[in-house]
């Protein structure tokens, strides 16, 4: 249906319109608020946490939630609340960090393949296909075994195994955009290639890339926790939702608080990112507005 333009001085930019659409999605907004809060908490974790994550209180093992230990303590008497905050911080670090790796590798490979085409495209895309087909989790286990179990190496490992989707996305968009009519128009105007990439191609790729990253973050968190669960994650006593849940499961009947709190925060965090991703996907696609 044709919308006749209301004469107005300022137009709504792509981003302003996207924000307007995003705000309509209640779950996405709730997810975004949650994420902002946990990011702030994570930045200040060392100051917020009542106890160090590795400080044992041997007189207070398996304690139920109380005024002193809000979320109770674990088998070594460590404060569950503090450990949870650190686990969240690690998860976010790995979630965001791995996506930075994904972004760098995916964009470089995808845009080279898309712009150059031909042989180079074929070779790069075959490599991408192999990465895509390879069982990610297994690959991660191998990488972590080889590179070590530090926070940074896990982050790199998750990124190294997760860029194939991004590379395909970027390649597809570059292939489309480099032949898009408005890019042809810019070429006809005499624009240099660098200018076309800067002003025409990159800005138009941002939307889908952001959506892909938003869905990539919970995926990274998920893999990190999985690794920790099987004992391949961050080295104890550093907490991770994976190793906390793994440890808690053994005592689930007697001391359910050891599982419930990490599982809840873990699930909430994943949900929040997924809802935000959903909201962004709809918001950044102007055609979703009918």
């Amino acid at each position: 249906m044709e919308v006749a333009l209301k004469q107005r001085r300022r137009g709504t930019s792509y981003w302003a319109a996207a924000w307007r659409r995003f705000k309509k999605n209640k779950m996405a907004v709730a997810g975004l608020i949650y994420i902002i809060i946990i990011i702030i908490i994570s930045i200040f974790t060392p100051w917020i946490a009542p106890y160090p994550y590795d400080e044992p209180h041997y007189a207070h093992t398996f304690e139920k939630p109380s005024a002193r230990f809000w979320w109770g303590t674990d088998d070594l008497g460590r404060d569950m609340f503090s450990r949870n905050l650190y686990a969240m911080r690690n998860a976010l670090l790995i979630g965001f960090g791995s996506q930075i790796v994904v972004l760098i590798i995916g964009v470089i490979i995808g845009s080279i393949a898309g712009f150059r085409g031909g042989r180079i495209d074929t070779i790069l895309m075959r490599i991408t296909d192999i990465m895509y087909a390879f069982p990610t989790f297994l690959f991660n286990v191998i990488l972590v075994t080889v590179m070590g179990r530090g926070l940074f190496t896990i982050l790199v490992a998750v990124g190294l195994t997760g860029w194939a989707g991004m590379a395909r996305l970027v390649r597809g968009m570059v292939m489309y955009l480099k032949n898009a009519e408005f890019v042809e128009a810019a070429r006809a105007l005499g624009a240099k290639e660098g200018y076309i990439i800067r002003k025409y191609i990159l800005p138009n790729m941002l939307g889908p890339i952001i959506v892909s990253l938003a869905f990539g973050i919970p995926n990274g968190i998920w893999i990190e926790s999985g690794l920790a669960l099987i004992g391949m994650g961050v080295r104890p006593p550093m907490p991770s939702w994976g190793n906390m849940i793994g440890a808690g499961v053994a005592y689930i009947m007697a001391f359910p608080h050891m599982v419930i709190f990490p599982v809840l925060t873990f699930a909430l965090t994943l949900l929040a990112f997924t809802y935000v991703g959903d909201g962004l996907r709809d918001a950044l696609n102007p055609r979703s507005e009918v």
């Binding site: 249906m1 044709e2 919308v3 006749a4 333009l5 209301k6 309509k24 507005e289 009918v290």
Partner: protein, 326 residues
Amino acid sequence: MAELLRVNNLKTYFDRYDGVVKAVDGISYKLDYGETLAIVGESGSGKTVSVLSLLRLIKRNGRVVDGEAIFEGKDLLKLSKEEIRQIRGKDISIVFQDPMTSLNPIMRVGMQIMEPILWHRVMSDKEARDRAVELLRLVGIPEYKTRVWDYPFQFSGGMRQRVMIAIALACNPKLVIADEPTTALDVTVRAQILNLLSDMKEEFKTSVILITHDITLAMNFADTIMVMYAGKIAEYSPVERFIRNPLHPYSQGLISSTLDIKAKEGSLRPIPGNPPSLVSPPSGCRFHPRCVYAQDICREQEPEYKEVEDGHYVACHLVKGGKFNA
């Protein structure tokens, strides 16, 4: 001639993020047996919605809010889902604009012609087969006996539109709705399909509603013309009368802004402005912001849709006694 369809005060609205789109806002018309009615309008005029509403084929955010559509004594708008399904494809069928996307790509065209016949149990399987072959012959597919078992991708655009017409005719419908049936086709193929539609009308004696943006085509092809603007009927008239005496300024504008192949250089007088928003349409006559003859009354009061001559209806304040007085 007897009346096949009568639409009274049909209103179809769509809900959208910025408000309610009054796509069709109170239109009334009739169609006789064997008559060809051309509904002419630009995009957003409501020409397609006004017809798809009858078959309840509008998108989910749309709804018919008022009106009736009496088709052979039954009000289409009050029928149950099952009853309307009995009518679709059997009594009323549709030819869509784009033959490339309107056929099922993984089904042989013969099967697609047989489908409506079998659904509506008009005849046996064997008879339906023969009928499919016969229809392909009628719509002018060469080597129709073998091509009937081909897939749509093996047909060119014009041939697919012929198949679409064959499907529409499969159950001997009383009414065929042709929604821009030639718009997606090449110039030379367009003429072929128009000829085919003419022949089929003769052969099957069906009524046709031709939805088109092309007023030249409508004036050549139809018995009756209905010009729509912004969800309302601007003018409705037997074509012969319309050709001699188009009354609504929008009809006149459409004619003068249509480039004829014989048009002289500099003779074009386009209608100024753009089609209005249907969320907040202009006050009074919806055409007044683009009308060169607009007066105060046009801005303030909505013109009545009235019969000015026998069978010739216009909604314009400036038409009095069958004449346009500006």
